[in-house]
C-alpha cells in the first residue's frame, strides 16, 4: 500500500517536471536568442538596425529593413490572396456542402496541410516561376503599367519574386485557414441557423447575418493563425522569392524575407564579427512577432468561446 502511494507521488512529480521542461523550452529559446543578439545590440542601436537599409556584413552594416519589408510584403500579399478564397471555401464546406462532400474534402485538406514545404517550393520553382516570368509579368507590363507596384522593373522579370513567393505561401496556408474556419462555422448551433431559415432567410443571408456574425471571432483567429504561419514559413518562400537584399517596390521584384536570410546564411558567416549576432537578432524578431500573433489569436478565441457560452 505504501509503495502504491509512493509511486503515485513520484509519477505526478515526474510528470510535473516534464511539463515544466516543455514550457521552459520556449523560455530557453527566447533567452538564448536574446543572449546571442546582445553583442550587436550593444554596438548598434535597435532603431538603426530595424530602420537601416544597407546590408553589408563585411563593412559592419546590418540594416534589417529590406528583410522586414520583404517578410511583411510576402506575408500580406499571400494573405490577401488566401483569405477571401479560404473564407468562402470554408463557408461552402460548412454551410452548403453535403456530408458526402465534406467526407472527401476534409481529409484532402489534411493531406494538403501535411505536404512538406520543400515540395511546395519545388512546385513553385517548376510551375509558378515560369508562369510568372513568361505570362503574368509580361501581361502586367502591358496592361497594368498605371499601377506602379504591379509592373516589373527592367531586368527583374525572372519570376523569382514577391508574387511567386506569395502565391506559394497562399497555397500553403490555405488548408490551415480553411480547416479552422470550417470548424469554427460548424460550431454555430444548428438551431440558430434554422431559426434564421425559418423566417424565410436564404442560406446566404443566414451565413451573412447569423453564422458569420456568430463565428466572427473564430474566423479572425483562423486568419491570424494563418498569418503567423505564413510569417515564419521559410523553405518554400526561400526557393522562389529571389533573395536579393533590397526592399521590393513591385510585386515582380525579388525580396528577401527574414527566415530566408537566416536559413541561407547561418553557418556561412566566415567569422565576420557580429554576423552571427545579427542573424540571431533576426530570429528573435521573428519569434517575437509570431508569438505576438499567436497570443492575439488565443485572445480572440477566448472571447469567441465566452460569446459562444452565452
Amino acid at each position: 500500500m505504501r509503495l502504491r502511494l509512493l509511486t503515485e507521488r513520484l509519477t505526478s512529480l515526474w510528470f510535473l517536471c516534464l511539463s515544466v521542461v516543455v514550457m521552459l523550452l520556449t523560455a530557453i529559446v527566447a533567452g538564448a536568442l536574446v543572449h546571442r543578439s546582445l553583442p550587436i545590440l550593444r554596438r548598434h542601436p535597435l532603431g538603426a538596425l530595424l530602420g537601416g537599409s544597407g546590408w553589408h556584413p563585411m563593412q559592419d552594416q546590418f540594416g534589417f529593413l529590406p528583410f522586414i519589408v520583404g517578410t511583411v510584403w510576402v506575408t500580406v500579399l499571400a494573405m490577401a490572396m488566401a483569405v477571401p478564397v479560404c473564407l468562402l471555401s470554408a463557408i461552402y464546406l460548412a454551410e452548403y456542402a453535403r456530408s458526402a462532400t465534406r467526407a472527401v474534402v476534409r481529409p484532402l485538406l489534411d493531406v494538403l496541410a501535411g505536404i512538406p514545404s520543400v515540395v511546395y517550393g519545388l512546385f513553385g520553382v517548376l510551375l509558378l516561376v515560369p508562369l510568372v516570368s513568361d505570362h503574368i509579368a509580361p501581361w502586367a507590363a502591358k496592361h497594368l503599367s498605371f499601377l506602379p507596384g504591379a509592373t516589373p522593373r527592367e531586368g527583374y522579370a525572372t519570376g523569382y519574386c514577391l508574387l511567386t513567393g506569395a502565391i506559394v505561401l497562399a497555397m500553403m496556408v490555405a488548408p490551415l485557414i480553411i480547416s479552422i474556419a470550417d470548424e469554427v462555422l460548424r460550431s454555430v448551433p444548428v438551431a440558430m441557423r434554422e431559426a434564421s431559415l425559418a423566417v424565410g432567410a436564404t442560406r446566404w443571408e443566414t451565413v451573412k447575418h447569423v453564422s458569420a456574425r456568430f463565428a466572427a471571432p473564430g474566423l479572425v483567429a483562423a486568419v491570424v493563425l494563418g498569418f503567423s504561419r505564413a510569417f515564419g514559413e521559410t523553405m518554400a518562400v526561400l526557393m522562389v522569392v529571389g533573395n536579393v537584399p533590397m526592399a521590393p517596390r513591385s510585386v515582380f521584384d525579388p525580396a528577401y524575407p527574414l527566415p530566408a536570410l537566416i536559413a541561407n546564411n547561418y553557418g556561412e558567416m566566415m567569422s565576420i564579427p557580429l554576423y552571427d549576432s545579427a542573424l540571431l537578432l533576426a530570429a528573435l524578431i521573428l519569434m517575437v512577432t509570431v508569438l505576438a500573433f499567436n497570443l492575439l489569436a488565443q485572445g480572440v478565441l477566448v472571447i469567441a468561446k465566452r460569446r459562444a457560452a452565452q
Binding site: E194, A195, S196, A198, V199, A201, H209, V210, R213, Q310
Partner: protein
C-alpha cells in the same frame, strides 16, 4: 378546401422509416396538437411543413403536403415564401446573435422592409403581441442573448410573427420554460388562433387538453388517430391511443 392537407407523407432516414404514410387535414384557425411519445416522428412531421427537413442530410421525403392546393414538397416549390408563411417556434429558444430589436426586424428586413419608422412599428407591434414589450422597451438594442430563457422564447415568437405567417409551427415551445413563462406563451396561443392556424407539437398531455381544438396522435412513426380534441380525449378508438392517454405507453 382545408388550408393544409397531408397526403401519404413518408420520411425515411438512412433507410429507416421515421414517418410512414401520414394522411390528414389540419383544420384552419385552430390549435392542432400533435402528441405522442418521444421519437414518434412529431418533430419530423413539423419539419416537413416548412421544409427544414431539407437541412437533414440523408432524409428521404415522399408524399405531398398541400398548402392551398400546392405541394410544398415539390422540388421547385418556393421554399423562401413557404417559410415566410409557416412561422416556427422551436423547443429551445434560439435568439439570433444580434439585438432584441434586430431579432424582430430580421425577417421583415430580409423581405424588403427598409423604412425605419415602419420597422419600429413592426417591432413594437409584435413585441406587444408576444407580451414582451413592457419588459424590453427600454433596452431594445441590448443583445438578445441577455434575456432570460422565458423572455427569449417570447422574443422568438415575436420574430416569427413579424414576417406575418399564416401558420405557426410550434415544437414543444414550453419545454425549456419555467411555469410562468409557459403560461405567458400558452395564453398567447389562445389569442393567436383567431388569426393563425397553429400546429403544436407537445408531449405534455395536459397542455394538449388545455389548448387543443384538434388532436393528432403519432406512435412509432405512424398516424394512429386524429380528431376533435373532445372526441379523441374522451372517446379514443385505437387501443394505442387509449394506452397513451392512460399513461401506459409514453
Amino acid at each position: 378546401m382545408p388550408h393544409i392537407s397531408v397526403r401519404d407523407l413518408t420520411v425515411a432516414y438512412d433507410g429507416h422509416a421515421i414517418l410512414s404514410d401520414v394522411t390528414m387535414d389540419i383544420p384552419d384557425r385552430q390549435i392542432t396538437a400533435i402528441v405522442g411519445p418521444s421519437g414518434c416522428g412529431k418533430t419530423t412531421f413539423l419539419r416537413c411543413m416548412n421544409r427544414l427537413i431539407d437541412m437533414t442530410d440523408g432524409a428521404r421525403v415522399r408524399g405531398e403536403v398541400l398548402i392551398d392546393g400546392a405541394n410544398i414538397l415539390a422540388p421547385d416549390a418556393d421554399v423562401i415564401s413557404l417559410r415566410k408563411k409557416m412561422g416556427l417556434l422551436s423547443q429551445k429558444p434560439q435568439p439570433l446573435p444580434m439585438s432584441i430589436y434586430d431579432n424582430v426586424a430580421y425577417g421583415p428586413r430580409l423581405h424588403g422592409t427598409r423604412n425605419k419608422r415602419q420597422l419600429d412599428a413592426i417591432v413594437e407591434r409584435y413585441l406587444k403581441l408576444s407580451s414582451l414589450w413592457g419588459e424590453v422597451r427600454e433596452r431594445l438594442h441590448a443583445p438578445a442573448a441577455r434575456l432570460s430563457v422565458g423572455q427569449q422564447q417570447r422574443l422568438c415568437l415575436a420574430r416569427g410573427l413579424a414576417v406575418e405567417p399564416e401558420v405557426l409551427l410550434c415544437d414543444e415551445p414550453c419545454a425549456s420554460l419555467d411555469p410562468t413563462s409557459a403560461q405567458h406563451i400558452e395564453k398567447r396561443f389562445v389569442e393567436l388562433k383567431q388569426d393563425y392556424t397553429i400546429v403544436l407539437v407537445t408531449h405534455i398531455l395536459r397542455q394538449a387538453r388545455r389548448l387543443a381544438d384538434y388532436i393528432v396522435f403519432f406512435y412509432m412513426g405512424e398516424l394512429v388517430e386524429h380528431g376533435p380534441a373532445e372526441q379523441l380525449l374522451n372517446d379514443p378508438r385505437d387501443e394505442r391511443t387509449k394506452a397513451y392517454l392512460s399513461g401506459t405507453i409514453s
